[in-house]
């Protein structure tokens, strides 16, 4: 993706994160400056999760997602998640980063993982559920469902 076009797509996407949406969902944006979105999910009954989405080459390439502690440091482990069929937050070491990662279509670590290299991002990128905002929505849904 041409960097100028990627930045334009990124800027359009993050501008859709309205104050009303952020307030309703308990999302706190630390930064949304190209090519990175840094935000936290917060709720009084759940541990905070901070995520950093690196969106260079958006949307030819899906965002790379770092799982962070509230202070911005890398999570080196995950809390015990609530039971469920298929949690998206994987406590194992990702082959590239060596850290816990998000195992979900629409996230770079998923598509480059040996288990899913044949599940191509190209099959998702045009879907409404895989805009940058809706990828964040999916990450939030997973946090709501599984995070303690």
């Amino acid at each position: 993706m041409n960097p100028t076009a990627a930045k334009a797509l990124f800027d359009a996407a993050v501008s859709g994160l309205s104050e009303r949406l952020l307030q309703t969902r308990g999302w706190f944006v630390h930064s949304r400056v190209w090519p990175t979105v840094d935000l936290s999910f917060r709720h009084s009954e759940r541990q905070e999760l901070r995520l950093r989405l690196s969106c260079d080459d958006w949307n030819d390439t899906p965002p790379s997602v770092d799982l962070l502690a509230p202070d911005g440091s890398f999570l080196v482990g995950l809390p015990n998640q609530r039971p469920g069929p298929s949690p998206i937050y994987n406590a194992g070491a990702h082959p590239r980063t060596g850290r816990p990662f998000v195992c979900m279509a629409g996230v770079r670590e998923y598509h480059e993982h040996p288990s899913h290299v044949n599940d191509l991002w190209a099959n998702y990128k045009a879907l409404d559920a895989y805009t940058l905002g809706e990828i964040v929505t999916q990450l939030w849904r997973g946090w709501e469902r599984y995070w303690p």
Binding site: T24, N90, C103, G106
Partner: protein, 99 residues
């Protein structure tokens, strides 16, 4: 969000105030729609998708305060009243990275 705060009016009898929140925008753009309490939730979602240009909502869910709604049922059947902000978007997908 079952949002009574920030919206001072009360809906007329047998109605409630509803807004649909997505990352593509909010419907209505400002404030809330006043809708019959026996209207299926999906009616408002359908209007939102048209207005916001969302064409594919397969696998999407509507939630209020983290609780998933049955969109084919009415607001009453979903135990909703007053002023409500519905979060609408895709359910998380994935899992299954084993190696």
């Amino acid at each position: 969000m079952q949002a009574s705060q920030g919206h001072q009016q009360s809906p007329k009898p047998n109605h409630l105030f509803v807004a649909v929140i997505t990352t593509a925008g909010t419907f209505p753009a400002e404030g809330f729609d006043e809708v019959p309490e026996h209207q299926p939730v999906k009616v408002e979602l359908d209007q939102a998708s048209k207005r916001l240009g969302i064409t594919s909502t397969n696998g999407w869910i509507a939630t209020v305060d983290g609780r998933e709604l049955n969109i084919n049922e009415s607001y009453v059947e979903n135990n909703l009243k007053g002023t409500v902000e519905i979060n609408w978007g895709p359910r998380e997908g994935g899992g299954g990275c084993w190696r």
